[in-house]
Symmetry: C2
Subunit: 273 residues, 2 copies
């Protein structure tokens, strides 16, 4: 097969694909990789699926920590068709790759949950920084990790979350180096979308967040910070995953990193109340 | 005269005075001092009065440099009653103290302009940072120069203005030290009011603005910057005054520093389009 003869049954996915095309490719098994850059106009979400007995605690954790845990959807127990987030959206199959956890240990990375589904599972979908990065790039603000094709740098900060039931732990923050004028614009742009982490939580000296070495992130990849740049820190969607890891529930499911749920929501609809 | 027997014809002015009370006190000569803190809910303005032959150039200068030169009112030539800015507002008498300039030299500091008035004079009133400082303090963001009872620190930056006719020169910036979280909130708050300088133009390293020693401001008073604070820089209303000084017009009038025009406009009406 060459570029001139694409596979007949697997159309290439791109920034211009529809959200449903991406989800159906995940469902069919044609897509088991990252969703970064696919269906670029659409909101992508972090996923957490928990037994109903823990769902109330996790919901309160998100409500108490809205900047790192911006909820864009919560299902009923057992509900797997999430109509509010997309047409024909089946959360059991429409994410390219999942992670299944038992007592805090990763036990498998399936591409389909139908065999594992239970009537007591509650799905949480949380906003993700892909959406605000889309807005920053559209405003002409360069993002180094995008230019370098690596993952954003993330750090466990000394900002505590407000605990709820077994869910607790530090706020995880993502860092993007920006020139001061771009940082000022980025604050204004991201403040408009509290659905996806909102305005930064810090900028400048990393030590004030308890970060000893900015070149050694706890998650993701390090990027250089130039002399005329400030590190700018946003609340990060890894925070709830870290809180779930700390809580060590007997059973839970998340998305695999970078393998997000692509919703029918449009990034440009965010920030409009 | 004691506190128990205030002067019958000069009621004490305060934050709770009406704007018209402050203007009438200036008009009668009862007030010839600073207006800081008086009629606190009201927009105060910087003043520039120029002959009509220069007014077009100055208007273009303001239009081209809206952050340092936020126009809130422009008169017709010779017009001295500025109804748009206040009831019974006479610009010849209602500012506590003026400065008269000839060829760039300060020649007098009168408290009344009626003897100097000319039919070709055009009045420009520009927004002033008192309004956004009011909003920052109301949001619980402390301002060191207010706490210390001194003037804000101001610097000639390396940011050029866009020239118009004889008006040119660097942007003058004011600096307020803030903790990062307060800086992020202050950016959001001040971005809402482009009528009064809008969002900051810089934060962090002063050297990037060409400021060699942050403890030696070009105007106003130095304030200390704590280890957990960032210097945050806004475009400053001294910029147009510096541009006028550079242009050295044969005749012009400004307010004396700190002796502002108190308008009937309300600070809370700013930022609403």
């Amino acid at each position: 097969m060459t570029d001139a003869q694409p596979h007949a049954t697997t159309p290439a996915l791109s920034a211009h694909s529809s959200a449903q095309e991406v989800r159906h490719a995940a469902r069919s098994g044609a897509l088991s990789g990252h969703t970064s850059g696919l269906a670029a106009e659409h909101v992508q979400g972090n996923l957490a699926i928990l037994p109903a007995e823990l769902a109330g605690d996790f919901l309160r954790f998100c409500q108490r920590n809205p900047k790192p845990c911006p909820l864009i959807g919560v299902s009923e127990p057992g509900q797997y068709m999430l109509d509010d987030l997309g047409l024909d959206l089946d959360i059991r199959s429409d994410v390219p790759r999942y992670r299944v956890w038992e007592h805090g240990e990763l036990v498998s990375e399936p591409t389909d949950l139908r065999a594992l589904w239970r009537d007591d599972l509650v799905t949480f979908v949380l906003g993700c920084s892909f959406s605000f990065e889309h807005a920053l790039l559209a405003a002409g603000i360069p993002l180094r990790h995008v230019e370098q094709g690596c993952n954003v740098a993330m750090y466990r900060s000394n900002i505590p979350t407000r605990a709820a039931g077994p869910f607790h732990g530090p706020m995880v923050v993502s860092m993007r180096p920006l020139k001061a004028a771009d940082a000022i614009r980025a604050i204004q742009i991201t403040a408009r979308t509290p659905e996806i982490h909102g305005a930064p939580v810090h900028l400048g000296d990393p030590a004030l967040l308890g970060i000893a070495d900015i070149q050694r992130p706890d998650y993701g990849d390090a990027v250089p910070i130039m002399a005329d740049e400030l590190p700018v820190f946003w609340a990060c969607g890894v925070t709830p995953q870290a809180a779930i890891a700390s809580a060590r529930p007997a059973f839970c499911i998340t998305h695999a990193p970078g393998h997000m749920l692509v919703t029918d929501l449009l990034n440009r609809q965010l920030g409009q109340g």
